[in-house]
Structure formats: C-alpha cells, structure tokens
C-alpha cells in the first residue's frame, strides 16, 4: 500500500466524492480517499439495503436500510438524535454528549458510509438566493459569505449537471434575484395529482401579505433517463433509500472514480488526527483501521494536500483532535447550525392520494426573503406528498380510528376517506451563525477510543420567531385551500424538527481572526489543508445545503488544482 499521495481526501460523501472526481479529471494527481464506512457501492448493495429496510419494521427512519452495517459499531452516528435533550442526556449510549449550557437538543444526524448522507437524503436541490450570501450587510444579522451568488452561479450550473437536477427554468430564473445562466439538465418532476389540486386553490393568492406561487422543487431526481440512471418511478421512499438510484447519491461519482487507477478508496478507516510538520503544513493523516486485527493502532499516510470532507461534526472533531491545527481563530467547531423545521398537518377537502410519487415535489419559495430578516429568519415551504410526514403516519390514523372503536366494517371506508386527504406543509427556517453553538470533544469515547462530539446548542430567538410565522402562514394557506388543520392548532412552544442539515463548524470568511477557511475553502492557517462540505457555510439560509456544498466542492477542487500547478 502506498503511503504518499498528492491529495488525501477524508470522507466519501458528496463533498469528498465530487472534490475527488473533479481533481481526478485533471489527470495528474494520485488521490487517496479515506472513508470510515465500508459498504459497497454496487446494485447488489442497494438491493441489500432495500431488504434490510423491508424487515426493519420501522420504515421512514433514515437509518433503517443501514442497520446491518458493521460500521455502526466503529463509526457510530447519532441514530437517536431526534429525541429531546433530556432523553439524549440520560442515555449513556447516545452518540452526542451535551454541555450543561445546551438549551436545545441537536437533533441532526448523518451517515458515515461510503457515499455518505446522500444515501438517505430527500434529494431536494434549491440554490441559495443572492441575499443568503449577504445576511450581515443586507439585514445586519449573522455574517456575510466572502463570495456572492454571482461568483458561485457557474458552479451551481456544474453541480446541477453532476448531480442530475431536474427543474423548470422559467419558474426559478430570477426568483429572489437568483438568475440562472443555464437551464436545468432535466425538466422538473411532473407535479402530482395532489400538487395540481393544491396549486389550483392557492397559486397567485396572498397569504400573510405575500403572493404565493407553487413551483416544482429542483431536485437531484431524474425526470428522464440521465447519466445511466433511470427516471423516478415514484417509490415514495426517497428518505431513506431510492431503490433504483433515480435520486442522486455520491456513489455515482465514486463508481466513476473506481475506474481510475490513480484514485484509491480506503474503506473502514477512521481518521483520528492530522500531524503537523516543521513547515506548519499537514504532514501526516493518522487513522485507525477497524478491519485490521488491531483496530486501536494508529496508522498514517502522507499527502501534499489534505482535504477534510467528513461532514460538519466529524470534520471539526478531526481538527480539534489535532492539537490546535487550523484553529488560530478559535472557530473550529463553532457556529454549529441546522435547518430548524416544523410542519402543519391538515385534511384536504377532497382526496388527494398521497404516498404516490416522490415524497415532496412542489414548494413555496415566497417567504424566504424580505426586510423581516433583520428580526427573524425567512423560511422555505415544502408541500408534502407523504401524508402527515413525521407528525402522523397512516398507522396513526388507523390507531386513532381503533381508539374510537371503529373496528369491522366501519374501518375500511374510514381509512379510505381519511388517509387520502392527509396533507402537510413543512417550513424550514434559518439559524444564525453563533459561536456559542459548537462541537467540542467529549470525554466519552467511542469503540475506537475516539472522543464523541460534545454539543452546545441553542436554536435562538431569530429562528423561533420564524417557526411561529411559518405556522401561522401554513394555517392561512390551509384556509385558502379549505383544508382543516389537524393536530397542533398553534405552534407548540419548544417543539421543532431537524432537517439534518449540519452546517457552519469550519466557517468560511475573509478574516482569519474569525473564520477557519478562506473564500476558496483553504485553511487560513495551514496552506495545504482544505475543507469541503457544509461545515464551511457562513450562513445557513433556508435552502437545502447539498447543491451549494456541491458547487463549493467543485470550486475548491479547481482552486486546489491551481495551487498545485
């Protein structure tokens, strides 16, 4: 096994895979990808995951298909992070440890697998809008990115091509000022029967003083055969697994890389720290190999350039375990953000037949931006095609009917009447980058003796105010639809859901005093250290992060190449 490479990339999720692929295209680098997981990336592996999910007895859980992986022991993740704070704190086996200063649970999880979290993501790929890059200068809150939408726009186009994004150009070009220089690679996913009925009732109407448009969400989900993958067949299983890979996942790029003799993917290895040489650069990447006979032993490998792409909890952990490397600003692990969401559930006035097609096809973008962002965040709304989403499954409907005593002949017509009317509106808010929200190293260790994450987290009033507004907006929209709100009638205090969009912990900025990486993703302190992924996000905005991190990853790879020439 070679021990010296041009580029070492830690993590094979979408950020690492895209970065590796882009760099491999230059044809001049020996690349090593180090990955904590060890699953395969074949069709057979997908079938196996589908079967595991099938017998799990708890469908919809983002981890369900992956429960048989041995990597769960050696590269653990926060499988139960969606629990409330005290439940997590009282569980000694919980992956996340919490400080006493933590006000809220950090509910976001991720996959540590070959292909990363894109195995189980929903696949939605809206772009950030121009204001999202200028939160500080436009609204006096949070931070500005060190780059703007114009600078990232061409990379957005490249990322959309790489992931295979379907969308309708005429709906999105110019939305909130976000122009598009190219059409989407594929036309948008066709609206479902439910979306059409909803659109008929609310499109062009006003809610909370804002005109509403129902648009097709851009998504990395094929609306036609693309890149050797089929068009979506509507298995309605996006989270946790697309059975046919109509939804992009990072194994797309990993399979391309597998054919490149200059790229090596080393699986079942967990990076423990980076070593610093006398020149102040990263000299060694240390790791434990959990497939080996002595998994507690450290090994090392060296590379001219090191790229951390281990997602926004494990990436800062690696730096924090590296004796202060890259952390002169003190910002490593800080500014932890998630998209804090909630959903309002309703019964539509006529059957709309959810659970047919992708889990969400359409969205409402009208509330993402406005002067209010100086006091509360915006939010992005999605129209669910999955009944009542996380709030209530079809099993809950039947359970409630049985509690009313509706056994026997009363039951089938009640089911046929109620479940087809299930509808939810989800809204996803923005968090501010607050240094006090952070990841540190816990004294509790995992099976490999690596510190678990120690979290301090407070959602913040900027976000809480948006949750309240999102709830009221949803109610108004349901009223426009003549839909009856079911369940919570007011935004419950202290209650929210995670989008599992972890961001901010190696924040990007121009000033080395308060950021970890520069505008290209390069560490301010360590010239041969780069970071890709959502950990570099300066703002969380309200858009799903994957397309933005994909664009940044491609851009960073190009910057690495320029530096290495």
């Amino acid at each position: 096994m070679a021990t010296s490479y041009d580029i070492i990339i830690v993590g094979s999720g979408v950020a690492g895979a895209l970065c590796a692929w882009k760099l491999s295209q230059y044809g001049r680098y020996k690349i090593l990808i180090l990955e904590a997981g060890d699953n395969a990336i074949t069709r057979g592996q997908r079938v196996e995951f589908h079967h595991t999910m099938d017998v799990q007895g708890n469908r919809g859980d983002m981890y369900a298909p992956y429960m048989d992986l041995e990597s769960r022991i050696f590269a653990p993740v926060a499988e139960k992070a969606q629990r409330e704070l005290n439940d997590q704190k009282n569980d000694p086996n919980n992956y996340y440890d919490y400080t006493s200063a933590s006000v809220d649970a950090f509910k976001a999880g991720y996959n540590r697998m070959v292909g990363g979290s894109t195995w189980s993501w929903r696949g939605n790929t809206p772009r950030f809008i121009p204001s999202d890059f200028k939160l500080k200068s436009k609204f006096g809150r949070g931070r500005d990115w060190p780059l703007d939408y114009n600078e990232l726009e061409p990379w957005y186009c490249s990322a959309e091509e790489e992931l295979g994004v379907s969308g309708n150009h005429e709906e999105w070009d110019g939305l909130h000022g976000g122009y598009r220089s190219r059409a989407f690679p594929m036309r948008g996913i066709p609206l479902g029967y439910a979306d059409q009925l909803i659109k008929k009732r609310i499109d062009g109407k006003t809610a909370r003083g804002t005109k509403v448009r129902v648009v097709t969400t851009p998504q990395a989900r094929n609306s036609a055969d693309y890149d050797g993958r089929p068009a979506c067949e509507g298995h309605s299983n996006c989270i946790p697994l697309c059975p046919i890979q109509a939804k992009y996942d990072a194994t797309v790029h990993l399979r391309r890389l597998a054919k490149d003799p200059n790229v090596e993917l080393r699986k079942a290895v967990v990076v423990t720290r980076l070593g610093k040489g006398k020149d102040g650069q990263v000299s060694e990447v240390y790791y434990k190999s959990w497939h080996s006979d002595e998994p507690q032993n450290e090994h090392s490998v060296s590379g001219k350039v090191v790229v951390l792409a281990a997602h926004a909890i494990e990436t800062p952990k690696i730096l924090l375990m590296s004796n202060g490397l890259g952390n002169k600003s003190g910002q490593v692990g800080r500014n932890l953000m998630d998209h804090i969401q909630f959903e309002v559930t309703a019964s539509f006035p006529e059957p709309i037949y959810p659970f047919r097609g992708p889990q969400s096809i359409s969205s409402i973008e009208a509330f993402r931006d406005g002067p209010f962002r100086n006091t509360r965040s915006g939010f992005r709304m999605t129209i669910g095609n999955d009944g009542w989403g996380r709030t209530g499954t079809p099993a809950k409907v039947i359970g409630d009917l049985l509690k009313e005593g509706k056994y026997g002949s009363a039951l089938p017509p009640a089911i046929a009447d109620q479940i087809p009317r299930m509808l939810r509106l989800g809204f996803s808010t923005e968090m501010l980058a607050e240094p006090a929200n952070r990841v540190e190293l816990s004294s509790k260790k995992d099976a490999l003796g690596i510190p678990r994450p120690l979290i301090t987290f407070d959602v913040g009033d900027y976000t809480r105010a948006a949750l309240q507004e999102g709830f009221e907006t949803s109610k108004e929209l349901f009223k426009l639809m003549d839909a009856k709100v079911v369940g919570d009638q007011e935004m419950p205090k202290g209650k929210w859901n995670t989008a599992a969009h972890i961001m901010g912990t190696c924040i990007m900025g121009d000033d080395p005093a308060d950021s970890v990486v520069n505008r290209w993703g390069r560490s301010h302190d360590v010239p041969n250290l780069w970071i890709v992924g959502s950990s570099v996000f300066s703002t969380s905005a309200t858009a799903n992060p994957t397309l933005t991190l994909a664009a940044l990853s491609l851009r960073t790879a190009a910057a690495i190449n320029r530096e290495m020439l």
């Binding site: 007895g57 298995h235 047919r356 992708p358 099993a395 002949s409």
Partner: protein, 150 residues
C-alpha cells in the same frame, strides 16, 4: 376449528376486510399470511393472543356458524377476553393493514413511540390498495403515474 383458520376469521372480523374469508381465492392466498402473522404475534403476545382467539372460537362454534359481520364483532367486543386484550386486537389490525405491529401501546408523550415490528409481508399490506397507493418503496408503475388521479 384450527388456530390459523380462527385467526384468519378473527382478522377479517376486526379489519373489516371480509373478503379474506368470504372470497375463495383471497382466502387461499391469505391463509399462509395468516399463519405467519399468527406465529409472529404469538412470539410477542404468547399469553394474550390465545384468550382472544379462544373467545372468538367460542362465538364461532355455534351451528350454523355466525356470519362474520358487525353483530358478531359487537358480541366479541363485549367479552372480557377482548377487553383484557384489546391491545392484541389492535395489533391484529395493524399487522394486516401494514404488515407491522407493536409490542406495546405507545407510552404517553413525550416518551418515544414504541417501535414497529415486522410482519413479514410488507407488500401485502391491506392499506395500500385501499388508499390507492403502493407499499412505500415498492412502486411498479412508470414515471409520472402520480400525476393522474388513481
């Protein structure tokens, strides 16, 4: 009456899906499913399923046997065995509609809900054709089918 037949008839009574006993073809296809569902429920409710089943058998043992309808259901629900074991009756409904069931009732919030256990015939869940959908994760239709009213 053997236990599997009794379980199948009890299931029809509780779920309202009478066709699984009244339609000969549906009954033929449902019997192996019933056998497996009974086996899996017995693994969890070994003390609580038999009394419910016996209560049904007692009611169904008249000559001629009573029709499977709401009147028989009402009689069953009035028995002490049903009242004591209604949780199992609910899981019989769950296992047929979803091919999933729970080992215990949900504890009051904010405790997490009890997880579902697998029934083994996920694609045969009765809920999906009733709501004109498909078992989640198992669509057999072409791209775009969801645009049309089912």
């Amino acid at each position: 009456m053997d236990d599997t037949t009794a379980f199948l008839e009890l299931s029809a009574l509780l779920t309202g899906r009478y066709n699984i006993v009244t339609d000969p073809e549906d009954k033929r296809l449902s019997m192996p499913i019933a056998a497996e569902y009974r086996r899996r429920l017995m693994a969890v409710f070994s003390a609580r399923l038999p009394p419910l089943l016996e209560a049904y058998k007692t009611l169904a043992s008249t000559a001629p046997p009573p029709p499977i309808n709401d009147s028989l259901l009402a009689t069953l629900r009035a028995t002490q065995e049903f009242k004591d074991n209604e949780l199992v009756a609910q899981q019989i409904v769950n296992i047929w509609y979803f091919s999933q069931f729970k080992a215990e009732a949900d504890p009051p919030a904010p405790a997490p809900a009890a997880p579902f256990l697998d029934g083994g015939f996920y694609e045969e869940g009765l809920v999906w054709p009733l709501i004109k959908a498909h078992p989640i994760g198992f669509s057999h239709q072409p791209h775009g089918y969801w645009t049309k009213q089912p």
